[in-house]
Amino acid sequence: MPDAIMRVWRGDATGGAFKEYRVPTDEGMVVLDVIHKIQATQANDLAVRWNCKAGKCGSCSAEVNGRPRLMCMTRMNLFPAGEPITVAPMKTFPLIRDLVTDVAFNFGVAKTVPAFKPGRSEADGTFRMMQQDIDRGQEFHKCIECFLCQNVCHVIRDHPENMPAFAGPRFFVRLAALEMHPMDTDSRAEYLRLKAGLAFCNITKCCTEVCPEHIHITDNAIIPLKERVVSEYYDPVAWLLRKLVGK
């Protein structure tokens, strides 16, 4: 196997540049393996986040050849052997160092999302919920908070000034999960309209395309939320009815 030619972003908030590394590779390697190899042998202080190395924790997000990806789930054999591969940090978030960005924005939004507000449970303290009624919610709960969808969304990627008024696709997924939880009794229409900036989204579907969990962010979360906001805002009776029948 020829050496991999990696062009890795090195630098911090004050500036930086791509630096080239040549790395011997083995069968089955993913981009994160190669980054670790550079770290262990050529650039000990190369900063990168990771935890599970199996696509489960959402720590290792980066832009590989310009596409937002999890480095631990990106096989090297995806790319033509011997051609340079660029690895850059997510662009939307402020750079800390090398491949590590400051994703505090997301944890800030999380604090503002109105919490789960359950209705009454059975005498034994549990709920009765049918599998088909939670299938959609379980799809949304697959989110590993890699923030790749947030990174790719043009509303904040091209216009950081929108950040204070926009929750972003990850949180639309979260809000949809809450709204569609069969036991939830709250309404988040006001929040969605005034705080989460749902109207900013013009359904480009870029978020859905990069989601490593294959969550149908636009079709299953955003569009139904948009419909809800409209109906709840202009037709509160319909909203109440829907909550009562649990659909």
Binding site: V30, A40, D45, A47, K56, R75, R128
Partner: protein, 600 residues
């Protein structure tokens, strides 16, 4: 000397670690009115708990109404080869159902039974289908639920903040010292009580299911502060990790695969587990493939498949098959679910396994068998705690989750960790808050000690030596993998002690380039103290237990020794040296003994 050049925070309770145990502890402490901080090395929500797959064990009795806490207690004790702290096993079995229901009340969406209740699945060592689960991503559901619940409770979260040492005032805990990963700046937490919830030590081995965080920090802090460790020799090697390609070796394949019908086969196509049923489990294990297969749907009239024996038994069996030359092409065995369940149900029940093999190994598990072999997975032992309060031997120091020992004895059953986290996480938070409330004195943090800690942390930048921390870590992993692995002997264990001492010497010559800002080489250099300490503790404990039991197998003492079944191996630090002792396990009260009788 004053502390004013440092960033200082003051709390009643600080919780170190934000996995299931830590978040649950923080929620409880805060609910008791304690001013609470939650500190973690990674981002919030990325702790190991997020990776848990198969499920959380609780005798809800939804699938088998005959299940109850007594059966769960019995299974846990038998799985642990009776080394368990019986009081912990009792509390755990009794309280796990309430903790699972609580997760549901906080928004978790577990898979459902046809009548809309929480579905439960089979895994090894549990008599009944007992694991509440969400496909094969139960840990994600659990950590997200806890995280989202905690967010609204006014807990101060400090993420990407690494603690390197606990601070004491006399014989009491007074706080902790650490640094921000982002800036490298030091930070001091003053606290009346500290809860350790830092998880395990799997990074001392080469093939492991564990992430970079599992360097044994909490175990080391406890030891350094004067607390005791138990059962460190009984480390759990999970039987099924990926073995191919090399870069993914060790990544976990959930036991849920076998729970859902997958079987182990050797290169000859034999279901070899039938050959490895130990006397202890013979009466309750199927003798033929037909009986084993019927058991999945009819548990009343059939006995369980030997594929679901406790993990220590299965890991040893795989090891033996491979050594005997009946392994798979890359040194594992085959795990086959493709020929046993239809593609649709495999994808629905085990979506992330499907995904993981497809993307990382080019294997379609609905069409071909997986290649699997043992991987370092879970610390059965850990910091010794009081069963009811999670208190350690040090005043003000509590521990819960994987970092704490006792519940699992010599071997943990699948699903018993996630339940452990919420049962004892809650208890640790409760009693830490109570301790903090009752403590009326004043605590001082010694500025001189802090100065010395800070200076020691910065030394690697100033040295001229040429050691690379990554190389030392790799050498430690090679050493532990080959000398302190699944099968052990006295000669190899002694050799490991020498190598660990040499590695410690080499650490003194580590030189770090670059600056303090998000510098992973520096972080690893600091973690090496913990890595070497826990490697040392495991090895001395393994030397002391001259028998084979649970996760601890000695080639030179292959049998269990009934006398050693009555003692824990305890490790402490005495004047900077590790001291090892055998200490008797307290006798079980008759009402619990009764639960274990009659079904040998």
């Amino acid at each position: 000397m004053a502390l004013d050049k440092y960033e200082v925070h003051e709390h009643d309770v600080i919780v170190i670690g934000a996995g299931g145990a830590g978040i649950r502890a923080a929620i409880e402490a805060s609910a008791q009115g304690a001013k609470t901080a939650l500190i973690c090395k990674s981002l919030f929500g990325k702790a190991h708990t997020v990776m848990a797959e198969g499920g959380i064990a609780a005798a809800l009795g939804n699938v088998y109404p005959e299940d109850n806490w007594k059966v769960h207690f019995r299974d846990t004790m038998r799985g642990g080869k009776m080394l368990n702290n019986w009081r912990m096993a009792q509390l755990h079995a009794q309280e796990a159902p309430d903790r699972v229901k609580e997760l549901e009340a906080w928004g978790a969406l577990f898979d459902r039974t046809p009548d809309g209740r929480i579905l439960q699945r089979d895994v090894g060592g549990h008599r009944y289908a007992r694991l509440a689960h969400v496909g094969d991503r139960t840990g994600l559901e659990m950590i997200r639920t806890l995280q989202q619940h905690a967010v609204h409770k006014g807990i101060d979260v400090f993420m990407e903040c690494t603690i390197t040492r606990l601070l004491k005032d006399g014989d009491r805990i007074a706080g902790a010292f650490g640094y921000w990963r982002e800036s490298g700046r030091f930070v001091i937490f003053k606290a009346k009580a500290v809860v350790l919830a830092t998880g395990g030590i799997g990074k001392i081995w080469k093939f492991t299911s564990n992430s970079w965080e599992y360097t044994g920090d909490g175990v080391t802090f406890a030891l350094d502060a004067g607390a005791h460790l138990i059962d460190m020799e009984c480390y759990q090697f999970h039987p099924t990790g990926m073995v191919w390609p090399p870069s993914v070796r060790g990544i976990l394949v959930t036991e849920g695969v076998r729970g859902d019908g997958g079987t182990l086969k050797n290169a000859l196509g034999e279901r070899f587990m039938f050959k490895y049923v130990p006397e202890f489990f013979r009466a309750e294990t199927a003798e033929t493939a037909e009986e084993a297969d019927r058991w999945y749907t009819d548990k009343k009239n059939n006995r369980r498949t030997p594929d679901l024996l406790p993990r220590d038994e299965v890991a040893r069996a795989i090891n033996t098959e491979v050594k005997a030359g009946r392994g798979s092409p890359h040194g594992g065995v085959f795990l086959d679910i493709a020929s046993r369940r239809d593609a649709e149900s495999i994808k629905r029940r085990l979506p992330s396994m499907y995904h993981q093999f497809k993307e990382l190994a080019d294997v379609d598990i609905t069409k071909e068998p997986m290649e699997v072999g043992p991987t370092a997975h879970y610390m059965n032992g850990g910091v010794r705690v009081d069963a009811d309060t999670a208190a350690t031997a040090v005043l003000g120091l509590f521990a819960a989750g994987e970092v704490a020992g006792g519940l699992h004895g010599a071997n943990r059953l699948g699903g018993n960790s996630l339940s452990d986290l919420v049962v004892f996480g809650r208890r640790a938070g409760l009693y830490a808050a109570e301790y903090a409330k009752n403590f009326k004195g004043a605590l001082t943090v010694d500025a001189g000690q802090v100065e010395a800690l800070a200076r020691a942390c910065l030394e690697p930048f100033e040295r001229t030596g040429g050691e690379n921390p990554y190389a030392i870590h790799q050498d430690l992993q090679e050493c532990m993998q080959s000398l302190v692995g699944i099968i052990r002997t006295e000669g190899e264990l002694k050799k490991a002690l020498e190598e660990i001492a040499t590695l410690r010497e080499r650490c003194r010559r580590i030189k770090i380039d670059g600056n303090r800002q998000y510098n992973p080489a520096w972080h690893l250099a600091l973690d090496l103290h913990s890595l070497l300490t826990v490697a040392h503790a495991v090895t001395v404990a393994a030397l002391e237990r001259k028998e084979s039991r649970g996760g601890h197998t000695r080639d030179d003492y292959p049998k269990t020794d009934p006398a050693l079944g009555k003692v824990n191996v305890v490790v402490r630090k005495v004047r900077d040296e590790l001291a090892v002792n055998r200490e008797p396990i307290s006798p079980m009260p008759p009402e619990l003994t009764k639960l274990l009788e009659g079904d040998k």
